[in-house]
């Protein structure tokens, strides 16, 4: 990733003429945090595998896997306090689960018994959002509302590289910057929007560069380096919390699986490319660092896997039963009070 040099004259005019690159923190390992991060990565990977398996068994309608992106998923959830809000997209089930939503509830959308399987207020997690980038203005608005009320609340919104081309991305970031709203935008740049590579998406030197145009800080981070992503996000959250306004964080990562179980990624990606990114697997990277510092033993590794297996088994069990469905639910939540027309349609059933 090369950052195009700005002419000196332009640079002098801009508060922050280019994004900061944090391709790794180089920090000494945190003996408590890093092993915990690893445990969550292992759990996340296992849940990704389990959810994909559940699509083959017909228990999930579809699953957009975040295999390869677990570091971003876990860090996004850990960067927030319980009082903060998370705004996920369809690919961010793991972040939702890491924030405390039970796995089966987080997968409600993809199971298909209702659009959102959890009460967003309980863990302060907005519904998984499918129309690209449309959740971003919600995050801006919610953060702005919290600030207007004098509440200490930060919003963190997730979006993909493709989503940055949407108008709502632009509008959300512009509003956030103008309002100095306490919101953090995390772009998981996994190089593809379904089949379309990043080069067809933007001519910007990096997605983090877009921050410059909005007058907010931009950060570029190795999205497969879990401690680095968490550090950058925590800084951005702290900056928002202290009244500094929004930050755009671009995390460079890779979607190891296809777009969803229904996609065939071999039609648009060479196997060598996937293999190269497997070498940069976020779990492998962190395990290597931990082992180098004596923070990961075979035993803790086994314990992490056992914990993940237990969670996966619980998820299987929860989704292997048929959900209770009531057709009358169709009419229950359209309006606070059903219109006469809806009452009539319900009663005619």
């Amino acid at each position: 990733m090369t950052i195009v040099e700005q002419p000196a004259a332009t640079r002098a005019l801009l508060p922050e003429p280019e994004p900061h690159r944090v391709l790794g923190t180089g920090a000494a390992p945190d003996a408590r945090l890093w092993p915990e991060l690893y445990r969550l990565l292992v759990r996340g990977r296992r849940l990704n595998e389990q959810a994909t398996a559940l699509t083959r068994q017909g228990r999930l309608a579809v699953y957009p896997s975040s295999t390869g992106q677990e570091a971003c998923q876990i860090a996004a959830a850990l960067a927030l306090e319980p009082r903060d809000w998370l705004f996920p997209s369809y690919r961010d089930t793991l972040a939702v689960i890491t924030r405390g939503v039970p796995p089966a509830a987080a997968l409600g959308l993809l199971r298909g018994d209702w659009h959102t399987g959890y009460d967003p207020r309980e863990h302060r997690v907005a519904p998984l959002c499918t129309p690209l980038a449309t959740q971003l203005p919600h995050a801006t608005g919610l953060a702005h509302a919290a600030r207007l009320r004098g509440d200490d609340v930060v919003a963190l919104a997730l979006v993909g590289d493709g989503g940055t081309s949407e108008g709502d991305f632009h509008e959300a970031l512009n509003f956030a910057a103008v309002w100095r709203a306490p919101v953090v935008f995390l772009v998981q740049n996994n190089r593809y929007a379904i089949s379309v590579p990043l080069a067809a998406q933007t001519a910007a030197p990096s997605l983090a560069h877009k921050a410059v145009g909005y007058g907010m800080p931009g950060r570029l981070v190795d999205g497969n380096d879990a401690p680095a992503v968490l550090t950058v996000l925590r800084e951005a959250v702290a900056h928002a919390r202290s009244g500094g306004g929004p930050t755009l964080v671009e995390a460079l990562t890779y979607r190891i699986d296809a777009h969803t179980n229904a996609d065939d990624a071999t039609r648009y990606r060479p196997p060598e490319e996937v293999a190269a990114w497997r070498e940069r697997d976020p779990l492998t990277l962190l395990a290597r660092d931990l082992r180098a510092h004596g923070l990961l033993t075979d035993e803790t590794e086994r314990a992490a896997r056992a914990d993940a297996d237990t969670l996966a088994a619980a998820l299987r069990a929860a989704l292997n039963t048929d959900p209770a469905l009531d057709p009358l639910d169709l009419f229950a939540h359209v309006y606070a009070t059903p219109t006469p027309q809806l009452r009539e349609q319900r009663d005619a059933r």
Binding site: H115, T134, G141, D168, A172
Partner: protein, 323 residues
Amino acid sequence: MAQALNRALRDALAADPDVHLLGEDIGTLGGVFRVTDGLAAEFGPERCADTPLAEAGILGAATGMAMYGLRPVVEMQFDAFGYPAFEQLVSHVAKMRNRTRGALPLPLTVRVPYGGGIGGVEHHGDSSEAYYMATPGLHVVTPATVADAYGLLRQAIATDDPVVFLEPKRLYWSRDDTVELPATVEPFGRAVLRREGADATLVTYGPAVPVCLAAADAAREAGWDLGVLDLRTLVPFDDATVCAEVRRTGRAVVVHEASGFAGPGAEIAARVTERCFHHLAAPVLRVTGHDIPYPPPMLERHHLPDVDRVLSAVARLQWEDQV
């Protein structure tokens, strides 16, 4: 009417600190139609906020504010300039309560100046109500009188669901000195008979109400006694009052400015036919805008329903078959 709307906004801001107005030029300027005149000065620039110029951003941010518990009131500057916000409206605003099983209701009002008749150039005369009516989860409301402008807007802001509040542009300058504000706050879903009539019912709303009242006056000469029913809320729709009235007269003409094809009148005519078939002496007819893009100002009078077109529809209500 603009003053009644202004008063409704002022009273709502004063009554509830969670009410926040957002829009383009609504602050210092007071809105291009002056509906928010003086509100930024009185309540401050945060409660009557000029936003960046981006309708999807405005509505999307308002959605997030409503998710947090505020009661945003958004102004779209003109009907056609609400279209950039359509995705937010349809995919989120209308659905949030439903997709969260009632956990996240959105008490949010979108005010839209709509319709033609003011000599506006292209993109300033659309009647967009059919798009909103076809979107489950939205209330769609449009006042035709000064009192309703106040009462329905207060109700819209107090409602725990999203409301698209359509303000007939050409009635902004209408006056009614008999109305004392604050007027009564009106519940949604009740049509009101603006004029009683024994022979046929003109079913209408918003900017076409005065046209129908004038047509009913003129019809006297032809010997027809026409009733005028003002729907006031298109969603929820007042089937009960509409049907009671049409059953009484046996004849109905639906009148609106929006295009006729797949327009509100198609739905209304179908509903009346399904429910009142044996009471009808003639098919329900429609007088609507033509099925064309909104015309340039020098031609708009040939597009908008007027007294003559209403009367010629009334003449086609098969009076000759009467026994």
